[in-house]
Each structure stands twice: as C-alpha cells, then as structure tokens.
C-alpha cells in the first residue's frame, strides 16, 4: 500500500511540473548533472578498459532510451536488438561497399530501421498488445536468420569485419577516448531529445496512450498512431546505437543482435525504471558494467539477474528511480 501511494506522490510532482512549466526550465537542473556524469569517464582516461565500458554505457543509453520511448505508449518490443542490427548492418554495408561518409552511413542505418519499424508496426499495432510481444519476438528471430543467410551481402555467420572507424568533418574517431566523446555526445543528445519530447503535447499524448489507451482513443489520441510514432522513433534510436556500435567495434555479426540483447535491454529498462527519462540512464549505467563482476561465473550472474528482475517488479515497480521517489516521499511526510 505504502509503495503505491508514494509512487503516486512522486508522480504528482513530476506531472505537475511537466504541465505547468514552460519547456526548458527543468533543463537547467538536468544539463549540468548530465554533463558532470558524462565527464567522469574522462578522469579514467588512463585505463582504456574503463573508457570501453563507458562507450558501451553511452550506446546502451541510446538503445534503452528507444525501448523506453516505445514502452511509454504501453508496448514492449522484443525485437529491439533486431532494429539495432538493422541500423548496424545498413550503415556498415554503406560504409564498406559504397564507401559513403560516416554521417551518410549512419543516416542510412537509422532510415532503414525506421522504415522497417513502420512497416512492421502498421501490421501488428492494429492488434492487441500480446500479439505485439509474440510477433516482435518472432521478428527478432527472423532478422537473425536473414542476416545468417545473407551470403556476401551480410557476410553470413562470420559477419563483416574491418569496418573503418567513424569519421566526422575530417576527424577520425579511431581511439577509444575520441569515440567516447562522440558516443557521450550522442547519448547526451538522445536524453535531451527525450526530455524535450515529453514536455510537448505530443509527448504527453504518448503517455496518455500508455496510461489508459481506451480513454486516450476516445478523446482523440489515436492509439495506433501514437504507438506507431513511438515504435518508429524508438527503433530509430536502436538503429542509431547499432550504427555507432558497428563503427566502434569494427565488426558486426548476427549473434550480436540476438534475442538475448533484446531481453538485456528490457532488463535494463525495468531495473532502471519505466515511465521516466532517468530510468534508462540508470539502467544502462548500472547493468552495462555489472557483468564484469561475474565475467567468469555467468550462471550466477544470470540467476542474480532473474531474481533481481522479479524483486524489482514486485517491490519497486518504478525501478531504481522509484527508490529516489520513495525517499523523497518519506521526507515529505511529517
């Protein structure tokens, strides 16, 4: 009982702000905090492994942000990794086969992800939510198969190696640190974009669909329209992170985009917290480096993940973000 009232208290604060203040005001609090956060890894620049992890965290933030966007309209995509893979493969094929500049390749990757999401969404978003889960799961599998069977175009199971590093305006991002700066900038922009989006009426209508789809539909907010919008945009985030990842690792293969990756994104989202901008950041920040603690004992890691997932769902349905709200709620009550 306690939990729910407190969560609602938290919401009250957040929602009122979203509605009352002009967009942009809250940024004043967010931006410095984010900048500090993204600057921390620069202090660890001496150890490339930490920078490597920091790059992965940034890419995961973008990736999970996309999933969070989709989830805010009430859907959970089980093929998020497939869209990541689509973005990665499309970008890499452009870079390697057509020698297009990095910017064009990434744009192509994002565009392909969006188009595929639009076509798939048009079909399955007409149906009840549970079909969305089943079909996205199957679609993820289909994507992997197509990449495996893609012969010379996708390199089959071996994937594509020797992808040249990212190059932007004459600068080559070939060191870990330089790529981190790029990835951090992209992650930062993706966060700012989401903050801005959820301050607009459009963002509010997406939340409306997530909160109560029937009511939203009855008051003029199209469920299918909103969910398609979120699915396409969220998958674009995934494609973008995939295109960056491929140029960072210099390598793509179908196994890098299998169902486990989609499920990992869901875990990050749920543990971090759904329904807020902070959740995905927290999820990626904690869950990306965590496996390193268990690098040589994977079974234990996965069992821990499973237990954590269930406990978080049970006691912190808002995710780790909910802890903050809980504490604030306690202080607020005399």
């Amino acid at each position: 009982m306690n939990v729910s009232t407190m969560t609602e208290n938290h919401n009250k604060g957040a929602r009122t702000r979203a509605f009352d203040q002009a967009p942009g005001n809250a940024w004043k609090a967010w931006i410095p905090a984010l900048l500090v956060l993204f600057a921390i890894p620069l202090l660890l620049a001496g150890n490339p492994f930490y920078i490597h992890l920091a790059v992965l965290i940034c890419l995961n933030i973008i990736f999970v942000n996309g999933l969070a966007l989709i989830n805010r309209t009430g859907q959970l995509s089980f093929c998020h990794a497939a869209f990541m893979g689509m973005g990665a493969y499309a970008a890499v094929i452009c870079t390697v086969r057509f020698q297009t500049p990095f910017l064009i390749s990434v744009s192509a990757g994002v565009a392909v992800s969006m188009l595929a999401a639009y076509l798939l969404g048009a079909v399955i978003l007409r149906l009840q939510g549970v079909y969305f889960v089943l079909v996205t799961f199957c679609f993820g599998e289909l994507f992997r198969l197509v990449m495996l069977e893609g012969g010379d175009i996708t390199g089959g199971a071996n994937g594509i190696a020797n992808i040249p590093p990212a190059r932007l305006f004459g600068f080559t991002f070939d060191s870990k640190l330089s790529f981190y700066v790029l990835a951090a900038a992209c992650a930062f922009l993706s966060i700012v974009f989401l903050i801005a989006l959820f301050k607009t009426p459009k963002g509010n209508s997406l939340d409306a669909v997530g909160d109560n789809p029937d009511l939203a539909e009855a008051s003029g907010i199209s469920i299918q329209g909103s969910q398609t919008f979120a699915f396409v945009l969220g998958s674009a985030f995934a494609g973008f992170s995939g295109a960056l990842l491929a140029h960072y690792l210099g390598f793509v293969s179908p196994e890098s985009f299998n169902q486990h990756i989609s499920v990992a994104a869901i875990i990050m989202l749920v543990i971090g917290g759904r329904g807020s901008v902070l959740g995905p950041i927290l999820g990626a920040l904690i869950m990306t480096p965590l496996p390193e603690l268990f690098r040589s004992a994977i079974e234990t890691q996965n069992i821990m993940y499973g237990i954590t997932l269930i406990l978080v769902l049970k006691f912190l349905p808002m995710g780790l973000v909910g802890i903050g709200a809980k504490l604030r709620g306690k202080k607020g009550q005399p």
Binding site: L53, G156, A157, A161, N162, R295
Partner: protein, 384 residues
C-alpha cells in the same frame, strides 16, 4: 565502475607476493553452445600453468614467474569477446591470450590484440584467423583446412565412397567447414552432394536426414557439429535405417558423441582424432584432467596444453615476458617441439600467409564399442 576497481584491487592484494606474476588471459566460452570447447581450452591452460608453477615458476631471464590464468566468458558472442579482450588487455594488462573459441569472436578480437601486441592462441576455425597482417595470432590446433584433405583422400579410397551428405550448423564454423569439405571431397574423387544447414539449437534431424538419404548417399559427414548435435545425428540416422558410413573429419569428440548416440549407433563411425590411444603421455594428461575437473577431456584440450607450453617456452627463450615482439619471434622459431601430441612444428605459410598454424600428427580411428581403434596415421600430407 568503482566496484570493479575495488574488486580488481582485492584480487591483486590477494596474490601480491614477492614472486613475480605472469598473467595469461583466456577468452573462452563457458556458457552456452561452445562451452565444451571453452572448458577444454581453459583447463588445458590451467594445467600447463600448474606444471611450471609446481617447478617454482617459469624461468625467464633469471627471474621466476608464477603463471596465473585469468579466464573470462565470451558467451560465444563476438561483442562479449571484444569487451573481455579490452578488459584483459587494458585492465588486467595481460600480454598473452588463449582463445577465443568462435571464429566470429576471433576476428572481432584480432584488431585489439594486434594493435596492443598481445600474443593470441585461438581455436577459431576461420581461414581469416591467421594471416600476414595478423602477426600475433597463432593456432595450436589442427583445423579442417589441414586435416580434411589427407584424411578424406584415405577414407574415400579405402571405403570406396562416392556420395556424401553433410549436416552443418548454420553459424560461422559450420559455413566455413562445409566449404572446406566440399572442396576436399571433390579433390578426393567423391562428392559432397547433399549439404544441409540448420539452426544450432535444432534437435530433430529426421527431416534433414530423410532428404539426404533420399539422394542415395554412402556416407554422412559430421564435421563442424557440436558433439551433442553430432550424437543426435548419428542416433537418428541409424534409427532411420541408414546403413552407410558416418564420418567425422574433424572436431575430436568421440566420447561425447557416443554418450548421446549410444554404443550401438556409433559403432563403425570413422573419426578424426589427434590422439593415439597408445600415446601414454596423452593418457596421463587425460587422467590428470579428470582428476582435477571431474570431466572427461575434450579432444582439443591436449593441443592447447601443448600450445601453452610452447608459448611459455618462447618466453623463456626470448628472455622477456613484456617484449611480445621478441616472444612472438621466439614462438615462431620453435622447431620440433616435443609435446604430448608428438612432434610439433609451425606451418601454413602458403595457405594463410604466415606460418602460425600448428602441424601435428593425427589419426583416423574407427569407433568400436565406444572406443577409438586407429585405422590410419596421418601427417598433413597423407594418411597411411
């Protein structure tokens, strides 16, 4: 991240004795599909490390080094392997890596190890794992590229085989091996005229076998399949009434296959094996392996045991553990190494562009009541 740093410090603190420590990293698959191979490689490395540690450590330039193996799981995924490699190279500061298991992972890791001059002994079956521009990559195990031709020449002639059917997992190893075998069979005068690819998780092989048998094949090729899958194929083929030969041209795993297929079904199977049952050194190694890990040794394990010893010997010879350029050259220069598998040399200059491929004797065996009976002894040129 702090947590990792602390965990790392704790590890260091625990072992910070006066003796110098030499860390060897292992990127191996410990969960999922390739776990059997990953374990075999890791345990081989650990046993080799035990050998030198028992003698008070590795003698390099007058200093004694205690060898420590740092294993990380790559979950048979290239992306995970890259993260593991980054951690080994930059966090653990290792200069030597055993692994990875998978070809995709081997390719993904190569740029990192080459750039940072880390010597890598990989299992990866792809022909791209070795090359002139991959100066630090070595492969201590025989692959289909080496063994298939002489072995297939012998089998095709001795058993009078014309048409062969092959079932391969639809992954990088399977695709690569199918390609190699197709060439080898046609060179030997037979034909691999039924090729089937399937998802690695697949367990029902009957539809695939049905289709192959309808083509009137004389033999089924099992190379490239995980041991458990190979066992299932043998079992189901015999259940379908297949009377021809079953051949495994690579990937030693007879005990595992027999375990799944059963003694009856596996009888008469022709397998490639790097181990002569009469070889007492391997027998001793196998017993030691079982005593320590309570698991039966996988056929790849001795190759990595020998490989690790060659690497350690190269360090002693080079007189350094840090200058990997020197160690690499010393490793290349090892000739007629007396390993438990026999006399080992480097080869592969023509095929790969770099002589970083092991050359070891191997055998063709017939499976009888779960045991291997040697039928022919092979070198990389021919079988007798």
């Amino acid at each position: 991240m702090k947590k990792i740093a602390i965990a790392g410090l704790l590890c260091l603190a625990g072992t910070a004795f006066a003796q110098e420590e030499l860390k060897i990293g292992a990127i191996v698959t410990l969960s999922g599909a390739g776990a059997a191979w990953g374990q075999a490689m890791l345990y081989a490395t650990e046993l080799a490390a035990d050998d030198v540690n028992a003698k008070g450590g590795l003698d390099v330039g007058g200093k004694k080094y205690k060898v420590k193996v740092v294993p990380y799981d790559d979950k048979y995924q290239a992306g995970e392997a890259v993260t593991a490699a980054n951690r080994l190279v930059f966090e653990d500061k290792v200069k030597y890596i055993i692994g990875p298991v998978g070809s995709a992972a081997a390719l993904a890791v190569t740029p990192i190890v080459d750039k940072n001059k880390v010597v890598m002994l990989t299992l990866g079956f792809t022909d791209k794992a070795l090359g002139k521009d991959k100066a630090f990559n070595f492969r201590p195990n025989l692959t289909t590229m080496e063994t298939s031709q002489p072995q297939i020449n012998w089998i095709v002639k001795a058993k009078n085989i014309k048409k062969v059917g092959g079932l391969f997992p639809n992954d990088e190893t399977g695709q690569q091996i199918a390609q190699d075998l197709e060439k080898a069979y046609s060179k030997a005068g037979a034909q691999l005229n039924a090729k089937e690819f399937f998802e690695r998780e697949r367990v029902d092989m009957m539809p695939l076998l049905t289709r192959m048998m309808a083509k009137g094949i004389d033999a089924i090729e099992l190379d490239g399949n995980a041991p458990g899958t190979a066992g299932l194929i043998v079992k189901q083929a015999r259940e379908l009434g297949f009377k021809g030969f079953i051949i495994r041209s690579g990937g030693p795993a007879t005990p595992e296959i027999v375990n799944v297929a059963g003694n009856g079904a596996a009888n008469g199977m022709l397998v490639n094996t790097p181990i002569n049952p009469a070889n007492t050194a391997v027998k001793a190694y196998s017993d030691r392996y079982f005593a320590k890990y309570k698991k039966r040794m996988n056929g790849f394990s001795p190759a990595f045991y020998d490989g690790t010893h060659m690497l350690l010997q190269a360090m002693s010879a080079a007189g350094t553990t840090t200058d990997t350029d020197k160690v690499r050259v010393a490793l290349e220069n090892i000739k007629d190494f007396k390993g438990i598998l026999g006399t080992l040399n480097w080869t592969g200059a023509e095929v790969y562009g770099a002589a970083h491929q092991i050359s070891a004797p191997f055998y063709i065996a017939r499976v009888q009541d779960g045991q291997e009976v040697i039928e022919a002894t092979c070198s990389l040129t021919e079988c007798k």
